[in-house]
């Protein structure tokens, strides 16, 4: 067995010359410090994304993306396809866990200031991937074409329409028309399985390449792994094994969730029915949704909802550009403002999400 492995490896090596690559990878290390635990969440996000790709492709084999058939095709997958129930529930649960893991990864990178030079591009690609993850979630949510997803999409795209000038064209672009119809479903389907995965893969490639090239960042004040063997562990095999172990446990968690908390299908969307009371989006949009609900109809002379949207847009932009305005961290100094802003953001998000959930 071992000999066969060596033979195959040799055959490839003769043609691809992987010596320097292997040497480089053998030298790769992961710093051991009090914040090391956060290093795992990038890998967890990657793992969950891979699960989404695999289960997504499997679902694609049976899902039909038209208004007449979408709901029924998922019902078919849940009841007639062997293990279809499992694949579907895994896809739905892993989607939520993926967004959660991405959030944790993003916040941990933020608080450890790992975005500072030379890792600005890594941060940017990461933020874009995060926004894509939310877009994945929003577009995928419509695909079962049930009551909940239909109205959530309607409310969500309505918000886009509030923007002045660009709002209406954007809304019509998203909805493929003025209202949410079967055309919207087709468009969201195209986004979800082709456009977003394509862009995401490119960003992911850049992100991973940079992480490999630049190695793991160390939080300020915890430097030293470069020089001290005690303060680091080899990526292969130590960290990889730890990663795999964690991934395995997460896989088990998802299986547990899929069996004990199967994802509902609900009722088929009825375009002419009234929206059910208390409609709300998925949890990762809840804090923004709840904020908009609290805003008064008019703030000064501007529409309240518009103020909210612009606020979040601006906040998102500033957050994405943090490597460029946080000069202190690049210089190696502590930046308390960044910490407070970040803490404030986390608390706000948690609080508003809870409020939105209880409403």
């Amino acid at each position: 067995m071992k000999k066969l492995g060596q033979k195959i490896f040799g055959w490839i090596d003769e043609r691809v010359h992987m010596d320097d690559l292997l040497e480089f990878m053998g030298k790769k290390y992961v710093p051991i410090n009090s914040h090391s635990i956060w290093y795992y969440f990038g890998g967890v996000s990657l793992f969950l994304f891979l699960i989404q790709v695999i289960t997504g492709i499997m679902l694609l084999l049976y899902y039909k993306g038209s208004e007449e058939l979408a709901y029924e095709s998922i019902q078919f997958i849940m009841s007639k396809v062997e293990f279809g129930w499992l694949v579907r529930s895994i896809h739905s649960w892993a989607a939520n866990l993926f967004v959660l893991a991405a959030m944790i990864h993003m916040f941990s990178v933020y608080f450890t200031k790992s975005y500072r030079k030379p890792r600005e591009i890594t941060w940017l690609t990461g933020m874009l991937m995060f926004f894509l993850a939310l877009a994945f979630g929003f577009s995928g949510y419509l695909l079962p074409w049930n009551e909940l997803s239909f109205f959530a999409t309607k409310v969500g795209t309505d918000i886009v329409g509030v923007l002045p000038l660009v709002g209406k064209p954007m809304l019509e672009f998203l909805r493929s028309g003025e209202d949410v119809t079967g055309a919207t479903l087709s468009r969201f389907f195209g986004f979800h399985v082709a456009v977003f995965p394509g862009i995401f893969t490119v960003l992911l490639g850049i992100h991973l390449l940079l992480v490999q090239r630049q190695g793991m960042s160390e939080p300020l004040g915890h430097e030293g792994a470069a020089h001290d063997e005690e303060k680091r562990m080899p990526f292969f095999p130590n960290f990889i094994l730890r990663d795999l172990l964690l991934w395995l446990l997460i896989l088990n968690l998802i299986a547990l969730l899929a069996v004990f908390f199967p994802w509902e299908l609900g009722q088929k969307a009825d375009l002419f029915a009234a929206a059910p009371a208390g409609i709300k989006p998925e949890w990762y949009f809840l804090f923004m949704f709840q904020t908009l609900k609290y805003l008064p109809a008019q703030i000064l002379f501007v529409d309240g909802e518009l103020v909210g949207i612009l606020f979040f847009g601006l906040a998102g932009l500033l957050w994405t550009l943090v490597p460029f305005w946080d000069r202190k961290s690049s210089r190696g100094e502590r930046n308390h403002l960044v910490n407070y802003l970040g803490l404030g953001a986390v608390l706000y998000i948690i609080l508003l999400t809870i409020l939105g959930w209880l409403a």
């Binding site: 499997m58 007449e68 019902q75 694949v87």
Partner: protein, 151 residues
């Protein structure tokens, strides 16, 4: 002089670990592959049947007879007239939801509950039923009879 080193206890542990690792890895791969392969096998009903339902071969429908088929969760009455023509109607009586039947001797679709009668185009012609039966489209594909929604 020291004794020749016996196989250190870690060696046997190593073997056990190798067995455990190899064994559980194989089991794990199997536990992943089995559902995936089962999923990829097309199910008995290969496609979601929402817009049309296969009734069966034309010869299986005797002339002058009717049969009930399941369309989604609704019953549909498929009748074959003496002329050979096949027609399909919703089998739920529009009066009080009993299941209707084709009565060749009476030349009508009849509801046993309160003597309601529908003609062979589904129209309510006698008795309590207030509305005609839903009409379904009949498609003959080769020698297979299909019933579809009437758009």
């Amino acid at each position: 002089m020291s004794e020749p080193p016996s196989i250190p206890p870690s060696e046997s542990k190593r073997d056990f670990l190798k067995v455990l690792l190899g064994g559980s890895l194989v089991a794990w791969v199997g536990a992943i592959l089995y559902p995936v392969v089962a999923y990829l096998r097309p199910p008995k009903q290969p496609e979601v049947e929402v817009t049309s339902v296969t009734v069966g071969p034309l010869e299986s429908l005797e002339k002058g007879s009717g049969t009930i088929v399941r369309f989604g969760n609704k019953p549909v009455l498929v009748i074959r007239l003496d002329s050979g023509e096949v027609r399909a109607f919703g089998a739920t009586c529009t009066h009080l939801d009993c299941t209707v039947q084709y009565r060749h001797d009476m030349g009508v679709v009849w509801c046993a509950c309160h003597n309601g009668k529908y003609d062979l185009s589904g129209k309510n012609i006698e008795g309590p039923p207030p509305r005609p039966l839903d009409v379904y489209r009949v498609i003959i594909q080769g020698d297979e009879v299909l019933v579809a929604q009437n758009t």
